[in-house]
C-alpha cells in the first residue's frame, strides 16, 4: 500500500514502516527551544545525569520571545539559555544576529526536506513548508530529545487539501490558511497531518507556504506539509549547500479525508475575535475601528511580507488614531528591508520600525493592549488575552489588509483605499 509523505518521513526516521495511529520512536534531525521554553527543558535535561546533549549541531536555542530582555526576569531566562547553549556548543544566535525562531532556522538552511524537526514552540509546524515533518512539543519532550536524539510520535493520519484556481491579486498564503481554518474549524484537523496540494499551491511562493504551514496548529493539526518542488529547491539553494532527501506521497497513499477548495474568487480575509476560525472577508465586516496594527511575527514577518506592506504604505500616512508597529522577522530581514528602503517607507508613514522580536504577538511587550482596545495583526492567534488585557480584541489578517487598515483606521483591504 502507498504512503503519504508524512508516513514516509516517519518510517525513515523510525527505521521501519510505520502506519497512522501507531506510536513510533523516531530519530530527530533538529531540536529547538526558545527563551521561554528552554529553561524548563534545561532543568529537565539535567535530571537525566547526562552532561552533553546528544548532538550539539542538532540542538538549537533561539532568544526571541522576550528579548532584547523586557525586564529582569526575562533577562534571567535568556541567560539560563545562553549559558547552557555556550557550555554545550549548541546552535545559538545572539540578539543582533537572531530574530524569530521560525524565520531564523530556515534562513540558516537548518530546515530541510525529509527531516524530522521538533521544537518547544507550537508553531514549529512551520518547517513543513520545506517538506519536513515538523511539530511542536512541550519543554519536557524537548529535554528528552536533547538527551536521547529521538522522540515518540503517534503517526498522524493525513488530510489532503487540494486548492484549485488562480489566486486573485492581493490574496495570498495568509488568506488561504485563514479560509481553510474557517472552513474546518480550530479542531478540524486535530492530531492529523495537513498535506497542502493543488495547482494553487504549485503556483504559491515558498514564503506563502511558510505562512500556511505556520498556522496548521491553528486547525489543531500535528503538522502541515508541502511537497518539495523547484520553488523549494531554489529557495534552499540560496541558504545551504547541504543535500537532502525529499519525500513525495505515493499515488495510492491513504488519506483520512480529501478536502477540495476552489479559491479562484477568494477575497482578502480576516479572523475576528476570539478564534482563528472566525473568518470573514475584510471588506464585509463593516466599520470596525482599530487602535493598533501589528505587522510581523513568524507568520508574516518575512521580506516578501514587508514588501507588500511597503507597497501600500508608500506615499500614505498611518491613520491618526492608529499605532502601527512593524517588526522584521529576523535581523537578516531587517538588514534587507533597510537596503531596499522599506524601513524608510514605514517610518515616513508614521509607523514604528522595531528590532526583531516576538514581542506583542504573545502580549509580551512592544505593543501590549489595554482594556477595550482592538488590534489588527498579521500574527496567528487571536485568543482572548493573547496580546494584552483579556477585554482587548485581536483580529488576524495578511500584510496587505494590515497596511490598508493602518491607513484607514478601520478594517479594510487595499481595495478600499481607492
Amino acid at each position: 500500500m502507498g504512503q503519504t509523505m508524512t508516513e514516509k518521513i516517519l518510517s525513515r526516521a523510525a527505521g521501519r514502516e510505520v502506519h497512522p495511529g501507531e506510536i513510533a520512536e523516531v530519530a530527530v534531525d533538529l531540536v529547538m527551544t526558545n527563551d521561554i521554553t528552554a529553561p524548563i527543558s534545561i532543568r529537565e535535561f539535567k535530571r537525566t545525569g547526562l552532561e552533553r546533549v546528544f548532538d550539539p549541531t542538532k540542538v538549537v536555542f533561539v532568544p526571541d520571545h522576550f528579548v532584547p530582555a523586557k525586564d529582569i526576569k526575562a533577562a534571567e531566562q535568556a541567560k539560563v539559555m545562553r549559558e547552557f547553549a555556550r557550555e554545550q556548543g549548541a546552535v545559538y544566535w545572539e540578539v543582533g544576529r537572531a530574530g524569530i525562531e521560525h524565520v531564523v532556522l530556515p534562513e540558516n538552511g537548518l530546515t530541510l526536506p525529509g527531516q524530522v524537526i521538533i521544537g518547544a514552540d507550537s508553531h514549529s509546524c512551520t518547517y513543513g513548508a520545506f517538506n519536513a515533518f515538523s511539530t511542536g512539543m512541550g519543554s519536557t519532550d524537548i529535554a528528552a530529545s536533547m538527551a536521547l536524539g529521538t522522540t515518540w510520535v503517534r503517526v498522524p493520519p493525513t488530510i489532503k487539501f487540494v486548492y484549485h484556481g488562480t489566486l486573485p491579486e492581493g490574496v495570498g498564503g495568509k488568506d488561504l490558511i485563514l479560509y481553510t481554518i474557517g472552513q474546518i474549524g480550530v479542531d478540524g484537523a486535530l492530531y492529523a497531518a495537513m498535506e497542502f496540494t493543488g495547482e494553487t499551491i504549485d503556483a504559491l511562493e515558498v514564503d506563502g507556504r511558510i505562512t500556511m504551514a505556520n498556522m496548521a496548529i491553528e486547525a489543531g493539526a500535528k503538522s502541515g506539509i508541502f511537497g518539495c518542488d523547484d520553488k523549494t529547491r531554489a529557495w534552499l539553494a540560496n541558504v545551504t549547500d547541504r543535500t537532502y532527501e525529499p519525500a513525495e506521497s505515493d499515488p495510492d497513499a491513504r488519506y483520512e479525508r480529501v478536502v477540495e477548495f476552489d479559491v479562484s474568487t477568494l477575497k482578502p480575509l480576516v479572523a475576528l475575535p476570539h478564534l482563528p476560525s472566525n473568518v470573514h472577508a475584510a471588506d464585509d465586516v463593516g466599520d470596525v475601528r482599530v487602535d493598533q496594527v501589528v505587522i510581523g511575527s513568524c507568520t508574516n514577518g518575512r521580506l516578501s511580507d514587508l514588501r507588500e506592506v511597503a507597497k501600500v504604505l508608500a506615499g500614505r500616512q498611518v491613520h491618526a488614531n492608529v499605532r502601527c508597529i512593524v517588526i522584521p522577522g529576523s535581523q537578516e530581514v531587517a538588514k534587507q528591508a533597510h537596503k531596499e528602503g522599506l524601513a524608510d517607507i514605514f517610518m515616513e508613514s508614521g509607523a514604528i520600525w522595531s528590532t526583531s522580536t516576538c514581542g506583542p504577538c504573545l502580549g509580551g511587550y512592544m505593543g501590549v493592549l489595554a482594556k477595550g482596545e482592538r488590534c489588527l495583526s498579521t500574527t496567528n492567534r487571536n485568543f482572548r488575552g493573547r496580546m494584552g488585557h483579556r477585554e482587548a480584541e485581536v483580529i488576524l489578517a495578511g500584510p496587505q489588509v494590515a497596511a490598508a487598515t493602518a491607513v484607514l483606521g478601520h478594517v479594510a483591504s487595499p481595495a478600499a483605499l481607492n
Binding site: 529537565e44 537525566t48 522576550f66 526576569k73 519543554s139 536521547l148 488575552g385
Partner: protein, 172 residues
C-alpha cells in the same frame, strides 16, 4: 489511581493563553504560575479552586501554544485531574509528561456541572458522577503512554533509560 474531587466546568476550545497568559511566562515555578491559572477566563478561579478539585471542559482543551507552563499551573493549583471531551495534542502530551492526570471522557464532561463530585478510576478507565449516579467510561491510554505514567513522568522514564545505558557503558 483513584481521584475524587469537586468540578469546575469550562467550555470548548479552552486555549493555553487563558490557562496561563504569556505575561506570566517569566517563571517556570509551579506555585507562582498557579497564582494566575485560568485568570483570563475567570479572574476569581484562583481564589475559589481548592486542592483536589477537578477541571472539566469540552472539546479541544489546551489548544494553542506549546507552553508546558499551562499544565504546570493547573497542577500547581492543586487540581487533581482534568476531564475533557477531547484535548489538543501538545497539552495532552505535556500533562502526561509532568504527571497531571488527563482523562478523555466526552459524556462525563458534557453532563458534569459546577460543584458536582467526580470519582475517577484511571486504571479502570471509569468516571462516576456522584450527583447523578451515572458512570462513564474514559478513553484508555496506549501502552507506550501508560509506561510514561507508570514511571511517574517522562523524565523519570528517560532517566532510567539513560542510567541503564551509562551503566552498560561502564561495564563494557
Amino acid at each position: 489511581m483513584l481521584i475524587r474531587g469537586r468540578v469546575w466546568k469550562f467550555g470548548d476550545d479552552v486555549d493555553t493563553d487563558v490557562i496561563i497568559p504569556a505575561r506570566y511566562l517569566l517563571t517556570s515555578d509551579a506555585k507562582e504560575l498557579a497564582e494566575h491559572v485560568m485568570e483570563d477566563l475567570d479572574p476569581d478561579f484562583v481564589g475559589k479552586v481548592r486542592p483536589g478539585d477537578i477541571i472539566v471542559a469540552g472539546k479541544n482543551f489546551g489548544c494553542g501554544s506549546s507552553r508546558e507552563h499551562a499544565p504546570i499551573a493547573i497542577k500547581g493549583a492543586g487540581v487533581s485531574a482534568v476531564v475533557a471531551a477531547s484535548y489538543a495534542r501538545i497539552f495532552f502530551r505535556n500533562s502526561i509528561n509532568i504527571g497531571l492526570p488527563v482523562v478523555e471522557a466526552p459524556e462525563a464532561a458534557l453532563e458534569a456541572e459546577d460543584g458536582d463530585i467526580l470519582e475517577i478510576d484511571t486504571d479502570e478507565g471509569a468516571v462516576l458522577n456522584t450527583r447523578t449516579g451515572r458512570s462513564y467510561s474514559s478513553a484508555r491510554y496506549d501502552d507506550y503512554i501508560q509506561q510514561i505514567i507508570d514511571a511517574g513522568g517522562l523524565m523519570e522514564a528517560v532517566t532510567r533509560r539513560v542510567q541503564a545505558r551509562l551503566a552498560e557503558e561502564r561495564q563494557a
